[in-house]
């Protein structure tokens, strides 16, 4: 039998249903791949028993003639931002080291209810703050990709869902959950040659997902192709009464409605999505993407999103402000690490615990967030940022008068080497320049692989859609995917 780990979600699902192989065989193959790929440092915790139990349940249900669940027999990786009952959930931070939830996040529960099993908890940027997976307290994730220059430079898998992107790209998980606050699904997908979609804000429940920035955080799937993402998203999404921002809407039949024909659709190309120093191959790929979408029947129009330039600075006020408050609960009282120096009082315990427990980038963002909310600065920073955010959302609304989806590059560069941008936080922040605007406006957006750069590294294209129009995004992404014929994969060196 060919290697089961070469199969994607749909192939596994259909193969298990058809009896071509058992779910247990699939789980065993991926469990083995996971333990063989430890040099990638993609998993913080491996949970082979969870994957096997779900597989056995799928096999038993099939044997009993029960109707198959949507993800029966499919093992996946779970970003460590999702709380999983009985399995440590740390957000890749020392401050939550050893934290074992007594509850299951809604998104992960939805996936288990759909029949999926868990291979393990995936490494990530600490509290989802980062774009390279270098802020994890438990070591970098190393991208399975290498440049074709013969060097062995360790590359960033992108972030914050870097464990997820690396695991899917390395074929040690057919799919993985990610979360996206400012691009944390799309940018790592772009860096590793896989697909990933952030749905409309409110589609996936945030309940049980460790919060970074509440008004921006959205869960989404990362998988090898558009259809696999679609299948997974259908299982993850859905109304949750436990999340007051959850959308009270039925989950559409996205997979059934997948259609790569874009006849009658208008694709907008925003002229502001160009940055200084952007490599020429990204510009070329973007032009190629336009051609592919025309080929699929779409009409392409130029649109303007005049406030694009201000999205990133607005994001770096709003997200740290929310984070500074969301992360106040990590105080060493009810769970997680406690640092209690001799003779320390309560407030000193807090300060010592948080100093020892949070990584440098997390602290930096908490400080910025605290500063911009503090007395005298709130209006100039936070209120102004929320006004700019309203203008950014308005830009998109104006664009929807002219088009149905937008096409942009996902990131301004291919994967960079680990350590390359760490010294300059601002340079790192600029990685999210194309992904952040859609996050601020709560729009569905997807990255799909488009091609390789001269160093042989993947580059992604981003499709941004109207609120709730995941279908339009998925269809346009599928049109690109079918024409890009992206088959490159990293050669196993691990």
């Amino acid at each position: 039998m060919s290697d089961l780990t070469d199969l994607g979600i749909r192939e596994i699902r259909d193969g298990v249903r058809a009896g071509s192989f058992s779910a247990r065989e699939v789980a065993e193959a991926f469990n083995a791949a996971v333990s063989a790929a430890r040099p990638l440092n993609a998993f913080l915790v491996e949970t082979p028993d969870h994957a096997l139990a779900a597989a056995d349940a799928a096999d038993a249900a099939r044997a009993a003639g029960e109707p198959p669940k949507p993800l029966a027999g499919v093992p996946i990786g779970m970003k460590d931002l999702f709380c999983t009952k009985g399995v440590t959930s740390t957000a890749a931070s020392h401050i939550l080291e050893g934290f074992t939830p007594t509850y299951e996040s809604t998104v992960s529960q939805n996936l288990w209810d759909a029949g999926a099993g868990m291979l393990g908890k995936l490494n990530m940027d600490q509290f989802a703050m980062g774009s390279s997976n270098e802020t994890s307290a438990f070591g970098n994730v190393i991208s399975p990709w290498r440049r074709n220059d013969g060097g062995n430079a360790a590359l960033a898998p992108g972030g914050s869902s870097g464990g997820s992107s690396a695991a899917v790209a390395a074929r040690i998980a057919p799919g993985a959950t990610g979360t996206d606050t400012g691009g944390s699904i799309r940018q790592p997908a772009s860096f590793t040659g896989i697909a990933g979609i952030k749905p409309t804000y409110g589609r996936c429940s945030r309940w049980g997902t460790i919060a970074f920035a509440s008004s921006l955080d959205q869960a989404g799937p990362m998988a090898r192709d558009v259809r696999d993402c679609t299948i997974m998203l259908e299982a993850m999404a859905g109304f949750d009464p436990k999340d007051a921002t959850s959308l009270e809407l039925a989950v559409p039949q996205w997979e059934a409605e997948l259609d790569a024909s874009l006849v009658g659709k208008r694709v907008g190309v925003p002229k502001e999505y160009r940055v200084d120093g952007m490599p020429v191959e990204i510009e070329l790929l973007w032009q190629q993407g336009i051609a592919w979408l025309k080929d699929a029947g779409a009409e392409v129009v130029e649109v303007s999103l005049p406030h694009t330039k201000y999205a990133l600075p607005a994001y770096y006020i709003i997200a740290p402000a929310e984070a500074s408050s969301n992360l106040a609960r990590y105080d060493g009282v009810r769970y997680g690490e406690r640092e209690l120096p001799d003779g320390a009082n309560l407030q000193q315990m807090y300060a010592a615990t948080r100093a020892a427990g949070f990584g440098e980038e997390v602290k930096r963002r908490i400080l910025i967030g605290t500063y911009v909310l503090s007395a005298g600065f709130y209006d100039a920073y936070y209120t102004q940022a929320q006004r700019v955010r309203a203008l950014i959302a308005r830009d998109f609304e104006a664009a929807w008068e002219k088009c149905d989806v937008l096409l942009t590059p996902t990131a301004p560069s291919a994967a960079f080497a680990l350590g390359e941008k760490q010294a300059d936080p601002l340079a790192m922040y600029l990685n999210d320049v194309f992904t952040v605007p859609a996050s601020l406006a709560g729009l569905p957006a997807m990255s799909v692989p488009g091609g390789l750069d001269p160093a042989g590294l993947p580059l992604g294209l981003q499709i941004i859609g109207k609120p709730l129009d995941e279908q339009g995004v998925l269809n346009a992404a599928l049109a690109i995917e079918e024409r890009a014929g992206f088959t490159a994969r990293p050669q196993a060196w691990w």
Binding site: G98, F99, T100, T102, Y103, T200, Y201, G202, S215, P241, A244, T245, L247, E248, H307, K309, Y310, P313, A314, Y316, A328, D331, V333, R334, Y335, G336, E337, R338, L340, N345, L346, Q348, M349, Y350, A351, A352, R354, K363, R364, I366, L367, I368, T370, Y371, V372, S374, A380, Y381, Q384, A385, Q386, R387, V388, A390, L391, P425, L426, A441, G442, P467
Partner: protein
């Protein structure tokens, strides 16, 4: 607006993150670099623009007044670094 060492320390104290002098000094240029960059927002004319309140048009749902939770003390205390007699414990607080 730019921060100095004293401001960094004050903000860190508000955020309950212990930092020493060296760390505060290191953070000054870092934070100023970031703050200087985000200040470009000041260029945007936002007169008459309401700050965003809901990302996606949606209204706040209200729950019914029914007891559906609680009675799970073991789960509540399960991860506590220090607990006794059913309480979390912290260093003694003098009010």
């Amino acid at each position: 607006m730019s921060v100095d060492t004293a401001t960094v320390k004050k903000v860190a104290s508000l955020a309950r993150i212990a930092i020493d002098d060296a760390a505060a000094e290191r953070l000054v240029p870092e934070l100023n670099n970031i703050l200087g960059w985000i200040e470009q927002l000041g260029e945007v004319d936002t007169h008459g623009i309401e700050p965003m309140t809901a990302v996606i048009p949606n209204t706040l749902r209200l729950r019914d007044d029914v007891v559906t939770d609680g009675g799970i003390r073991d789960a509540v205390l399960a991860n506590a670094p220090a607990a006794e007699h059913g309480f979390f414990t912290v260093p003694k607080v003098i009010e």
